[in-house]
């Protein structure tokens, strides 16, 4: 990107003002990027640990479920699962992190999550405890999955913002500021040149006047 301006004092003043703003913006954006990175690294670490936990819990839940499926006939299993457990109600609120709007999920009504007193949605006589364990395991993992969804969405939004900020910082640092500096320098040199030309012209005119 080349900045073309008239070589005037007014343009030079304007260029210097732009340069000053660009440098200030660059510093602010760099600070924003660093802060976003700090937030992002903390979140990504938590998200990674949570994902490992969720994977392990889901794998255990599926293992229990596969055993329940083996012990019960498919008809009994399907009949037992015709009624879901009480739904879990959640609400999503938003919070600003460095001007990024990130979601926060809150559980309004826990339904039949672990700890909530509840009878299962099927009778005990025709089913086995493997089914209880599987349902309990799936219910247990739901809270973690909601938290994981929140964290991963935050990470995704922060990552996008970091990327955007990084591009802006780089554009300022490697394109706009050097161009403004070069343009200011060009104008400055051009003005000096014009001043020197003016001075030599005046001296030449003075010489001619003296000779007459």
């Amino acid at each position: 990107m080349e900045i073309r301006v008239n070589a005037t004092r007014q343009e030079l003043t304007r260029l210097k003002a732009r340069l000053k703003t660009a440098r200030r913006g660059h510093k602010l954006l760099k600070d924003k990027r660093d802060e976003l990175m700090r937030e992002f690294l903390a979140l990504i670490d938590e998200a990674r640990k949570l994902r490992e936990q969720v994977d392990a819990k889901l794998s255990a839940a599926y293992r229990d479920f596969s055993m329940a499926r083996a012990v019960l006939s498919s008809a009994v299993l399907e009949e037992s699962l015709m009624a879901g457990r009480k739904p879990v109600e959640v609400s999503v609120r938003f919070r600003q992190i460095m001007n990024v709007r990130v979601p926060e999920i809150e559980i309004d009504s826990p339904g039949d999550l672990p700890g909530a007193p509840a009878v299962p949605p099927y009778g005990f006589a025709a089913t086995s405890s493997d089914l209880d364990s599987a349902i309990e395991a799936f219910s247990g993992v739901l809270v973690d999955m909601l938290r994981m969804a929140e964290l991963e969405k935050k990470c995704e939004l922060l990552a996008a913002e970091i990327e955007k900020t990084r591009r802006r910082v780089n554009a300022l640092e490697y394109v706009l500021i050097p161009e403004l500096e070069r343009a200011a320098k060009d104008v400055q040199m051009r003005l000096s040149e014009m001043e020197r030309a003016n001075a030599s012209r005046l001296m030449r005119i003075k010489e001619i006047v003296r000779a007459h």
């Binding site: 599926y62 499926r69 083996a70 498919s74 009949e79 009624a83 009878v119 025709a126 364990s133």
Partner: protein
């Protein structure tokens, strides 16, 4: 009941028993490399025909169910009277009643895979019958139900009239009463737990009553043992989940050697009181082991297997009977147990479970 009428059927069953898979067979199956190898190993058994027809090996569940259905029909074809066998099979009708009750009473969307194809009364007939129960409590579609039941079993084995009589005089009234009870429970408790439990209770009460009324004492004892062991499992799971004593009293099955009220009262009083109740019956050791697991918050999987093995041992008493319907029903129970074991092995292979994990869950064989 003339036991001598069953002589030929018992002879048939003795031969069929030779084809039952043994514990060693299941161990060999568990040691196979994968699902394909396990299914191949079953090609020479009674399940071979159904499994060979499978396009997708993962769909072994319905194939095993079809094989079980074929066995039921075959046993019915040589039984002198279908009553005890149909009573044994009625669990599938009561199962379908649960599906129907959840659909009609609780407004849940019907899941087609939840319907058992092994019921005596086809599900659609049951649905039609229950949907138009009159003030007298009798379904107005009863003639259609009877006709369907006749054509299903009667044409093949000449039991048409007996099946129709069983359906109209025994099964349908039992289903109607149970449905009404489930309707009341469902409305009172407002949930599927109450509906399921009410139907389970209705089934057990009717089955044990049927056997006793017709003088099948050993079959009634089997039903009582099944009720006792089921109640024991219900108690342990209730303790594990901390269910309210008022709820537990309502879900215990009748027909066992200990009355649901005694168990319910003891449950409310605590584990010591429960142990006192079980001290006078043969399940006390099983109770203690179960309680230990509950108190340690350990999985009940292995303990439940122990309960089922105990029931298999009880049913195995039928093998010592020379005459009567008991050996036939014992064989059918053994066949169901075999199908469950096959499901455990094949599901284990499907989910790449280690051999030890599969073997730990295989139930004792009836063979």
């Amino acid at each position: 009941m003339d036991e001598y009428n069953w002589a030929s059927s018992v002879g048939h069953v003795r031969i069929l028993e030779l084809g039952l898979l043994t514990g060693a067979d299941f161990s060999k199956l568990a040691e196979t490399e994968d699902l394909r190898a396990a299914v191949s190993a079953l090609r020479d058994t009674d399940y071979g025909k159904q499994l060979e027809a499978l396009g997708n090996l993962e769909e072994f569940g319905p194939a095993l169910e079809r094989a079980l259905g074929d066995e039921y029909e075959y046993v019915l074809s040589f039984s002198p009277e279908p009553g005890p066998i149909l009573c044994f099979l009625s669990k599938y009708d009561f199962h379908n009643l649960k599906v129907l009750a959840k659909e009609l009473l609780l407004g849940m969307p019907m899941e087609p895979r939840a319907v058992s194809p092994l019921s005596i009364i086809p599900f659609d007939d049951l649905r039609g019958a229950c949907a138009v129960i009159g003030e007298d409590g009798i379904p107005s579609l009863l003639p259609q139900l009877l006709e369907r039941a006749r054509s299903r079993y009667g044409a093949r084995n000449g039991h048409g009239e007996q099946v129709a009589s069983f359906v109209s005089k025994d099964l349908v009234p039992a289903l109607v009463n149970t449905f009404e009870e489930a309707r009341r429970q469902g409305l009172e408790e407002g949930g599927p737990f109450g509906v399921d439990s009410s139907i389970d209770r209705g089934w057990m009460s009717w089955v044990s009553g049927y056997y006793r009324k017709r003088g099948y004492e050993l079959l009634a004892n089997f039903a009582a043992a099944e009720a006792d062991l089921t109640n024991l499992r219900i108690v342990m799971r209730s303790l594990f989940h901390g269910l309210d004593p008022a709820v537990v009293t309502k879900i215990l099955l009748p027909g066992g050697t200990i009355s649901p009220r005694d168990i319910g009262d003891a449950y409310a009083a605590g584990p010591e009181a429960l142990e006192r109740v079980y001290l006078c019956v043969r399940w006390v050791e099983l109770f203690r082991r179960g309680l230990e697991r509950v108190q340690r918050r350990e999985s009940l999987t292995e303990w439940e297997k122990e309960c089922e093995d105990t029931l298999v041992e009880i049913y195995r008493m039928a093998r010592t009977r020379a005459l009567g319907p008991e050996p036939v029903l014992g064989f059918l129970y053994g066949k169901e147990n075999e199908v469950k074991n096959l499901r455990i092995v094949l599901s284990g292979k499907q989910s790449l479970a280690p051999k030890e994990r599969i073997l730990a869950r295989i139930r004792r064989s009836y063979a």
